[in-house]
Amino acid sequence: MAFLRMPGVKVPHRKHTSNKFPARITPPEEVCLLLSMHIGAPAVPAVKIGDTVKIGQLIAKEGGYVSAPVHASVSGTVKRIDDITTAANQLTKGIVIQSDGLMERYELIEPPKVTDRESFIQAVKNSGVVGLGGAAFPTAVKLNVKEGVTVEEIVINGAECEPYITADTRTFLDRSDDLLYGIELLLKYIQPKKIIIGIENNKKEAIQKAKKLFENKKEVFVQTLPSVYPQGGEKVLIYSTTQKIVPEGKLPLDVGVIVLNATTVAAIAEFVKTGMPLTEKCITVDGSAVNSPANLIVPIGTRIKDVFAAAGGFKTDPAKIIMGGPMMGHSMPDTEYPVMKGTNALLAFDKKEAEIPEETPCINCGSCIQRCPLHLDPPAFGKAHMLKDTKALEKLKVNLCMECGVCAYVCPAKRHLVQRNRLAKNMLKEHNEKKKKEEAEKNGKA
């Protein structure tokens, strides 16, 4: 299988901020902490309106097994609990804390006692850490491997294949102690056979630093990866580092792999070391409308407008604001939305950059099919979707599409390919759910 290609595409790097040392911003007047900034059940509020809280204090407990707790990121008073629509168009609640400007740490914070695997996973759970590369899957759930399952490799994702973003690069450069400690913890308590750190070759300094850092660890390998988007996509990264293919409907663990983002590992280490849960995040602020692109450490829950203000405000009126990278990030309707745990970049585009090119007819050049990392056929999805042909969609495996956007990026006719894939994916999902429900009803009657 070694000849298999996961092609992808070369996107512009635009890593203007890789040399910008992350600066902590002046604390905002208020923050809004969403209860659902992770995959899984929303957290359940543990504070009332009017309570005073301090940094690191638990304000919402996990709401299920796949969930994560939320901690206060500023000291102050709980002002309101708002209804908020997320970027993914789901309704959630946000706890608004009015800052007292003192940024006091919660006095009950102390390092957790980690002695074995169980206490380690409990610590990860309590830290509120979720996948910080953007997916925001609760890390404790990922690490909670069932007995009898061996973890062969843990892959540390330092690919950072999206343009602009340099937050993970900064983790390698500025938080190497945390990274080292985090990897030691993983080796000790999860006991994988190897840990592979994958970094794209456009981050020379990070690679050098990582190589030096893990020189004496024989289980840790630093692997230089070609800078090809979407190198950091889970399935692609697993293939690039281990040559394993995650089958349809299966998890990486089914092939013995766990993938963790580099910053996630550092965040776990910080919690085990100090007991301070995840309350702040380093994010890259960039884009043509931003005055001074920078890496900023912001309290989670800081509103977008406050982050941009900390980056010197806007050069021109922004026409589009993106949370995340330009390939997979969400465009935001306003600047009131808060930074979440998984946010790694905020981009503001000026009018010219925000322009969406006109869609023209497909010329059948095949670029999208050639470039799809998973060897899918995007134009066929579009046709099947138009015909509402769910059978064809099933056969074409639209459900495998990870929505990386390569097809739409390379299309010379600027066709909205990945966008249609999303619609087709939803259509198939709805169809299958409906079918399941109908069958269940039928069986119920019989």
Binding site: I322, G324, P326, M332, A354, H375, G405, V410, V418
Partner: protein, 308 residues
């Protein structure tokens, strides 16, 4: 602050555009066009001008009449006109050249849904229509470098007739021989073809498989010299690089391109060796165009990690 734009990701796009691709094809055809003027004189330029003008005009009017978006700016009609011109003999009456262009754009391309939707190559189909409708003028080839338009036999006709004198291989390569405007100068076509491969517009697979198949079959049929003449004669190089690589009408996957190239090679050789026509490039590409949807179906990529 103005209203923020909301759209589904991605938020950036590659610089590649349809008009950019077509412009690259035009650039790649320029050496052959210039060579045709050097070899056959100024009338070449006239034929090219008429074909391009009528192709673009008819596309514009057709899109106006059927009230779709006018897409003349994508330059695809210009490419079709240019390709058709390069497939015609220099002495072709201009009204016939114009009619061919209109046929290519309106009947072969427009009526099937326009760019990307046509199943047959417009320039090739128009050439075949003209070959059947205007057999006399379409097969009246002019000797190279002759200002008075003396007529001559093409090397393929000469090969078929046996005994007629053939141009030297060097002349064949430089294009000093009878034939259509753009098909004679292999050197110019190679420069253009390599430019397209280098720019990533076409893949090397189809031309190499096509020309390779013709070469190998000719080698078996008639020996080395015969094979070299077969490769350089007729419209093989032009067809292999510029028409068997058309996006709309040829397979998209690498193995599909191999099947397409080899298939074209076999049909071309069969027509040349056993058919009553001296040349088979146009027919072979048209025939393979027709089965392209099936080739695409056979060579559809298998999704990575997909369950059966």
């Amino acid at each position: 602050m103005e209203k923020l734009k909301i759209s589904s990701s991605p938020h950036i796009w590659s610089k590649k555009t349809v008009s950019g691709i077509m412009l690259d094809v035009i650039i790649a055809l320029l050496p052959a066009a210039i060579a045709s003027i050097l070899i056959f004189g100024y009338r070449s330029a006239l034929v090219i001008g008429v074909c391009v003008t009528f192709a673009v005009l008819s596309e514009f009017l057709f899109q106006k009449i059927i009230k779709t978006k006018v897409l003349v700016g994508d330059l695809s009609a210009c490419v079709t006109g240019l390709l058709l011109a390069l497939n015609l003999p220099v002495s072709i009456p201009l009204w016939q050249a114009a009619l061919g262009s209109v046929f290519a754009i309106v009947v072969v391309k427009g009526l099937f849904g326009g760019i990307g939707k046509n199943f047959a190559n417009p320039a090739i189909t128009a050439r075949i229509m003209m070959l059947i409708a205007f057999t006399g003028t379409m097969t009246a080839f002019t000797a190279p470098l002759s200002p008075d338009l003396t007529s001559t036999a093409t090397p393929l006709e000469a090969l078929k007739a046996m005994g007629t004198e053939l141009p030297s291989l060097k002349d064949m390569f430089l294009g000093i021989r009878g034939g259509s405007l753009g098909e004679t100068c292999a050197l110019a076509l190679l420069i253009g073809g390599i430019y397209l491969i280098f720019r990533g517009i076409i893949s090397w697979t189809t031309p190499v498989c096509y020309i390779g198949t013709v070469f190998v079959l000719s080698l078996i049929y008639g020996g080395m010299d015969f094979a070299l003449y077969q490769v350089l004669a007729g419209g093989l190089v032009l067809g292999a690089f510029f028409m068997a690589t058309d996006y709309s009408t040829t397979p998209t996957r690498p193995w599909g391109k191999v099947i397409f190239g080899v298939g074209c090679g076999i049909i071309t050789s069969a027509i040349r060796f056993y058919g009553s026509y001296p040349e088979g490039v146009s027919f072979s590409i048209l025939l393979m165009n027709i089965i392209t949807p099936y080739i695409d179906k056979w060579t559809r990529p298998t999704p990575i990690g997909g369950n059966k």
